[in-house]
């Protein structure tokens, strides 16, 4: 496997879905470059509708891309896809969408603790109210306010009854 390319894909991509999209976008970009017009190398032109992805593709070192040839493109990307698929992500349930900077902050911290290949999946679930829930390798932990309310339902109801009495 081309380690440089793999690290490139994972470089500032902390979400598994994002990593998969990057691989697909890069693959289509290179295939387009090979098969659309071999004489006119359109490396600088945008290959996707996503400006972020375009920006990322344009920032890639051409030396890295030049290693991918028509003979090895399919095998290279097959291995990359398999590697990404094999990574078990940490699923984060959040009540609202986080800005990219905060996602990057969380991702960096997790990678510092658990390794460079660590990826997440983010699911938005407003019913959590606040806090978050985590799921990793089949174990689910709920730190949300919703779960707290559920766990302490009887105490909360008792408190309300007291309040209503007074």
């Amino acid at each position: 496997m081309d380690t440089n390319l793999f690290e490139l894909i994972l470089s500032d991509s902390y979400i598994k879905n994002q990593a998969e999209k990057r691989i697909l976008a890069l693959k289509n970009y290179i295939l387009g470059g090979i098969f659309i017009d071999s004489k006119e190398k359109k490396l600088k032109e945008a290959a996707t509708d996503n400006p972020k992805l375009d920006l990322w593709i344009n920032s890639i070192d051409k030396k890295v891309l030049s290693k991918i040839t028509p003979q090895n493109i399919y095998s290279t990307f097959e291995v990359l896809e398999k590697e990404i698929k094999a990574i078990e992500p940490l699923i984060l349930y959040l009540p609202y969408e986080l800005p990219d900077e905060e996602v990057a902050q969380i991702g960096t911290k997790l990678r510092a603790d658990y390794g460079k290949k660590f990826l997440m999946e983010i699911t938005i679930d407003p019913s959590l109210i606040a806090g978050c829930a985590l799921s990793f390798r089949g174990i689910y932990k709920d730190y949300s306010v919703k779960q707290k309310i559920t766990d302490n339902k009887q105490e909360i109801l008792a408190a309300f009854r007291q309040y209503v009495k007074h």
């Binding site: 799921s135 390798r137 089949g138 174990i139 689910y140 932990k141 709920d142 730190y143 779960q147």
Partner: protein
């Protein structure tokens, strides 16, 4: 650090109808219960290297990517005396339109798929289950704790027969459980109404699934029925459980197994179909006080094509039961009720539950029937038969009339014995089957309701042999009362 209890979670990878393959749930066990966000419950049915197979017990739109969380419980059903008189689904939810069950401290919970008690917990079957139906009680008796298969083709009266048995258990202190496995809703409603009308619902529990319910829910119906039966049996009660029908149950299991990519075996049934029925029926029996006392008598029913008697499921279940009653639609169409073919029906355990008198009487009747079968073919070629031959053929005709019993009628054991003995008495020498057809109901009524005749009927239970009984019927002055009643005298009813 926030203190929160971890749960196990799995994500749906693939769904096929009511089966979902889930990735995750690391410590799931077979028969664990899981639930998704929409409240759809699933039963863990298989564990493979990379996934967990779940049967969906509720209707719901389950998509790949959805999550199922472990509930840390196994599939259970709530138990209590509140179940009597109610119809429930296999998860213990009331389906009869009446108020749901209130959970109290008295509510017990039991797992559905418990193991069958071992040999040490069982005792000899020595008590008869009185069905109130002459042909069964006298010639093919069923013992309490026995498993007797009821099989036959469509429209042969099997269900009416089973409902009659339930109705005839009134005031006999027997709890009845009827498992309707994948029946049409209208049929289930009809069963509930019939039992209610005949005041049989108060000691009956109905566990029902409609044909429109998810297949896994239909599959667990007999397990729920047996769990409920075991609850009452452990209280020392005698329980009668009817499974209608196991052929449908086998077909549902076949459907689930084929969808779950299990390798098909004979007739495309999965390889463990025998085990599914045998470990269920093994939960029936007669139990020692240490195991709760009481008994569970199982009457599994199977509908099949009589032209192909040796299909897989009927032969399987025949080998795991203690006898079978074969119903024929041909007899049903001829007006015979119940439409049991006596020559092809057997009860391997019932004889030991009857008294010596009853056994001797049954043997005598069977001898006449067997002899008449031989003589009938000869009789076609003779112009004038000897008196003895004519008598045997006449007795056989009388028995054919006597064993006919209208639905929803109950004949007590002593009256059944008298009916079986009547064709051998002097009184019937010059009578024929038309006399029996005309006066049978009156004879039964006389021996049940008349003061003198009913006392006489009760007294015959103390007799030792069939000869003594026939002798008593010939010489006892009380029999003159019967002649008078036949002649039109009103019955002197018990006060």
């Amino acid at each position: 650090m926030l203190n929160t209890k971890p749960q196990e979670i799995g994500f749906v990878k693939q769904t096929r109808e009511f089966i979902a393959s889930v990735d995750g749930l690391p410590s799931a066990r077979i028969n664990d219960l899981v639930e998704n966000e929409q409240g759809v419950r699933g039963l863990v049915s298989a564990l493979s290297k990379n996934s967990v197979e779940i049967w969906l017990l509720d209707e719901g739109n389950v998509q790949p990517g959805q999550s199922f969380k472990s509930t840390n419980t196994r599939l259970t059903v709530p138990l209590g005396n509140f179940l009597l008189g109610r119809a429930v689904n296999p998860l213990g939810v009331a389906i009869d339109g009446r108020p749901p069950f209130a959970k109290t401290e008295q509510t017990q919970i039991a797992e559905l798929d418990g193991p069958a008690p071992g040999i040490n917990a069982r005792r000899f079957i020595d008590r008869q289950l009185e069905t109130g139906i002459t042909i069964v009680d006298s010639l093919i008796p069923i013992g309490k704790g026995q498993r007797e298969l009821v099989l036959g083709d469509a429209r042969s009266g099997k269900q009416d027969f089973l409902i009659d048995i339930i109705i005839n258990q009134r005031e006999k202190d027997v709890i009845c459980i009827f498992a309707a496995i994948g029946k049409p809703l209208a049929e289930v409603r009809n069963i509930i109404d019939t039992l209610k009308f005949n005041k049989a619902l108060e000691y009956t529990v109905i566990v029902a699934t409609a044909s429109s319910d998810p297949a896994p829910l239909i599959f667990i119906t007999p397990q729920t029925a047996f769990t409920i039966a075991e609850y009452f049996q452990k209280q020392g009660k005698d329980v009668l459980i009817i499974l209608d029908d196991l052929a449908n149950h086998a077909k549902i299991y076949r459907e689930i197994a084929l969808l779950g990519s299990r390798s098909p075996g004979k007739e495309s049934y999965p390889g463990d179909i025998f085990y599914q029925h045998s470990h269920l029926l093994e939960r029936a029996g007669n139990f020692k006080p240490e195991a709760g006392g009481g008994s569970i008598t199982a009457l599994p029913a199977i509908e099949f094509n009589l032209n192909d008697f040796t299909t897989f499921i009927p032969t399987n279940v025949m080998s795991m039961t203690d006898g079978h009653l074969l119903f024929k639609s041909e007899y049903y169409r001829q007006g015979q009720r119940p439409a049991i073919d006596l020559s092809l029906s057997v009860s391997r355990v019932g004889q030991q539950t009857k008294s010596n008198l009853a056994n001797l009487m049954a043997t005598r009747v069977k001898q006449v029937l067997a002899r008449s079968a031989q003589l009938e073919s000869v009789s076609r070629f003779a112009f004038e038969l000897p008196f003895a031959t004519q008598l045997i053929l006449k007795q056989k005709d009388m028995f054919t009339e006597l064993k006919n019993q209208a639905p929803l009628t109950l004949i007590s054991t002593q009256v059944q014995l008298i009916l079986m003995a009547l064709p051998f008495t002097n009184m019937m020498q010059d009578k024929d089957k038309l006399y029996i057809r005309r006066y049978k109901d009156l004879i039964v009524k006389a021996f049940t309701e008349d003061v003198e005749l009913s006392a006489f009927a009760t007294s015959i239970l103390n007799l030792a042999t069939d000869d003594e009984l026939i002798n008593q019927l010939n010489i006892n002055p009380v029999m003159k009362k019967l002649d008078q009643i036949m002649a039109g005298k009103p019955i002197t009813k018990k006060v």
